[in-house]
Symmetry: C3
Subunit: 432 residues, 3 copies
């Protein structure tokens, strides 16, 4: 009975997360202008590719029992979650192995768990995808998405979220994806922009052509409300159970977002002495949501406020820093926002965690943070999180770059979508 | 307690289906251009008309105990679901008769069941309504909607979804409305376009003026995400219970949509050798959702993938076929998409059904499909579904045509909205 | 277990209400034109301010145990709902004091209750905020929002919704906020427009510059569907329990909205003899939703239809009346719609209430209405509701005016946003 509750909670959360991929597409036309219809096509393509290829094998690679802690058994249950069999759902009343009494014990079933996590994978690639705008042909990115959903997304999940994963067993924790989602998205994005830059250099560019910002207030606002609502599924759903902690996560998530908005606007106002405008408003909210993600289930409401308040200036500083780099175009802020914010939040686990919250969120062994008397175990936790960061970022970066490199070879050097994109920097005219 | 669960599930599903009518309106401005504000007025009008007139009597005609299996008792409980009485809800704790132990036994209450089904009726007329754009005056379509919600929508539901309906008793099954919703919407639409064509011929037209496609990417994308999310209510909610099968239906629904997107894009690419664009992307997803609807609760995930993959080329072929007919305008694809896809999916019940799934979805007597060893009973089921198709399509078509014919007489030959529409074909200028 | 149900219901409802603030922003660009990007910034700012300052103290002032029935203890639990403490959630399994057995006994927890009510406060200020467009500087309105969320919103809630509030103890009831939300929003708005008018008079204006209507069909339609869906949380969630009455409230809410749409369109058509257009369609739905709000949990479905049908002409008459007043600009209809509709609905409690519904909605002592044999107790109830109306409207108006007056002094007479707004009336050109 309680299991049914938990499944309902995760199903609803999954439905909200499912909308986030398209919302990232709407965010793109909100920031870059309504003529970016390829943004929307990309978002639709990512969503469909995610459900198909995660269903084919990707879900197993992430969440099936792992082979030596390294990779989930890709053939567990067969492709498409049991395939044509009508038997598999009968076992354990359909409860997924890691959700049974031996592990997380929340009773989440295979269809519900798949739905939730496929939506997660989808929105992760949507974040990665903001750097390919007018740079990579849609067919090349579709090819990339196949590899991404079958292998790339699943590896960090297999290591950190799978209870037999090697990093999980070492004690690494990441509540709703500061590293598995946001950090890894950044690493994958870095792999892609490096490959783009190698090609652009070959073509004689001194700087990477920048995508222009041309905000559309309606779509921008709609996208942030949809993304925020999506995060209501993303974070609270990540308890994978409908308990008191799930409700507290609603609180920490919304307080961090609101606090980050206020501090982003305040500090930006100090910088420019005028209304910072909608894009900073939206990025402020996003930064709060990102920073709290990896520890939303481990901290108190007031800590969430503090983390949100810190998120604002962190984003502003990072944005300034990254904008100096001219060898890639990151118009939506994957690197200063998602990558940096996610990794920052992850490291804050070692500072802000309070055991009673973490225990209720399914991580009873996580030590108190340094600010809450955690002492040596907290330091150790910090080391673990940094280790995980190093490993995941490196592996995902290398695999992402390699994938793009091979796709580029396969398409004979036509990865970059010059047909649609070249004129941006060369002629300064806007292309629809 | 479990009953409360089921009601919550159906309520939430109903809320999602409720949004679909307006989403069809947004789909129309997404495909035809933002100047189609009458589309949006139409969508709002349909929504309000649905709740009012389904409440007045239509719900009873569909779901009250039937008179000889033909029509629900229109006076059951009185108008507006108990009217001013505060008694009616006390009986059986408010559980609707067919949801009690004697029939489906899911404990769904009258308010919840009404809400869910009124939303269904609303979106059905929204599908019908895509063929009246710039052809039928809003007041005429409003008059049509009254008849539609009181009588027309309810008849197929009374026959197939009402457990005392004659087709239900014969063994016809239609999980979430391949015939009751999509097929019947097509038949109703055919009745309307025939009446329009009779009038247009009288005015001397050789061909029916076609509505122009003028896509608006933002609204188009928003509409597909809202419709897809709505289908999360439409299909999984149709189990009328929160059980494992409801969760499996989420899976079959999303896998079919994704597979159909991929196959639509692939085959369209083969046809035109360029990116097929957003409209095909959207129609691909829609076709998958439509095809799986009548059997989403009866099949395995892998079967859903197969059905989705078939949906793509089916839509492309049907679209080509229907576009040859010049006596009506169907800019959004009611006939090649909803009508054909729904009826195709319905017939696939006899091929892909697997008993364990169907039993959990409340249809324990449905035989295995031909592809799963169903043999003779499956053939019989195919006959039943074809019989139901023939009966429902004929009756709805005749009633729909008659209704429009009478409205046209009542409004003295002014059904067609020439004031707003005529210039399209005669002058080739676009009217806002 | 049942408690968990209730929390889930209120959490989901809260998520829907949360979206309403931004939806009011989308309503503004839907009615006034897409260039109103400051509308959207305002909506985002309100949302974030609500969660932050309601969390800081405002929630306690409304819902903590009151001091003499006048004001909730602002220090109850400390700022940010327990602050850094991890203890507070352990008490009573986290159930908020007034949701325990001694009072409403629905088991709603602190995080869930806060989330729901902060969303309510947010949308209330969004309603107030429609009168400041192009009149008040964003920074002044932000300052106003701080006072509003800490003190102003909470007072009527502390009196009427808090079970130790003085009006609640006298017997005043307001189901989902005819007075606490809509009426009080009107009073707060009146305080603001009076301050604006005092300033405008000083500048030599004879009439208050009017904001122009410039509808955008897409955003207008999207906003009404989101607002209507939001009301699915607003009203049914206000039972604070998932019981049969919550489901009946879905019914009364949707029937009232649909009926009001039909009557608004009908009477407007009689007035102008042409299609009334999208704005009247949207306002018709809104009026039905507003009118039913204070008594959605107390009445039968047929009564909801009657109230909806009355709502239409009431709005049309009030709109005509208010449009004669030229000393303020109310482009979205705060006064004829929300204020008047909310207060009208509140008084209808004394006419339409039926005890069985009210009892299930948590108000067992509410007498039957005059139309249902209520007699003297119903008259007494009418007196109570009118008393509450007088007190709340007066206090909120005075406090709102004073707040704006002080902010104006603090910003040295620059409350009015002449930089952005003056040209509207003086030059008749539209400013982006």
């Amino acid at each position: 009975m309680e299991e049914l509750f938990n499944n309902l909670w995760v199903l609803i959360s999954g439905a909200l997360v499912f909308t986030m991929t398209i919302s990232v597409g709407l965010l793109e036309i909100g920031e870059l202008g309504e003529d970016y219809k390829r943004s929307l096509m990309k978002a639709i393509m990512i969503t469909c590719s995610a459900f198909f290829f995660m269903g084919l094998m990707g879900f197993n690679i992430a969440f099936a029992p792992t082979i030596n802690g390294l990779i989930g058994n890709p053939l567990y249950n067969g492709p498409f979650l049991g395939g044509f069999s009508s038997d598999v759902y009968g076992i354990f009343k359909g409860v997924w192995w890691s959700m049974g009494p031996a592990y997380f014990n929340t009773g989440i079933t295979l269809p519900t768990y798949f739905f939730f996590e496929a939506a997660f994978a989808s929105v992760t690639l949507a974040l990665v995808g903001v750097v390919v705008l007018r740079k990579v042909k849609l067919r090349a990115f579709f090819a990339y998405s196949i590899i991404y959903f079958i292998v790339l997304w699943g590896l960090p999940a297999a290591w950190i979220w799978n209870p037999t994963g090697w990093l999980y067993l070492m004690g690494v924790r990441d509540f709703a994806g500061g590293l598995v989602v946001h950090g890894a998205a950044g690493a994958a994005g870095l792999g892609i922009v490096l490959q783009i830059w190698l090609e652009e250099k070959k073509k004689g560019f001194k700087e990477s052509p920048q995508v222009k910002i041309n905000p559309n207030p309606g779509w921008l606002t709609l996208s942030i409300i949809l993304l925020w609502l999506g995060w209501f599924g993303f974070n609270p759903g990540s308890t994978l159970a409908l308990n008191l902690e799930a409700q507290i996560v609603v609180l920490t998530t919304f307080l961090a977002a609101s606090a980050s908005f206020l501090s982003t606007m305040f500090f930006r106002y100090l910088m420019v002495r005028e209304n910072p405008g909608l894009i900073y408003a939206v990025n402020g909210i996003l930064m709060g949501l990102i920073v709290i993600t990896p520890l939303a289930g481990f901290v108190s409401p007031a800590s969430a406020v503090v983390l949100g308040l810190v998120g604002g200036p962190l984003f502003l500083a990072a944005e300034k820093l990254f904008s100096r780099l001219k060898w890639f175009s990151d118009p939506i802020g994957l690197f200063p926002g998602h990558m940096l914010g996610g990794l920052f939040g992850l490291s804050m686990i070692a500072f802000f965690t309070q055991q009673p919250f973490a225990a209720d969120a399914g991580s009873p062994n996580l030590p108190n943070g340094l600010l809450f008397g955690g002492g040596y175990p907290a330091l150790q936790q910090l080391g673990l999180e940094l280790l995980a960061t190093g490993v995941v970022m490196t592996v995902v970066f290398v695999l992402s770059f390699t994938t793009m490199y091979i796709i580029n070879l396969g398409l004979r050097g036509t990865t970059i979508d010059y047909e649609h994109e070249k004129p941006i920097s060369l002629t300064n005219t806007r292309i629809r």
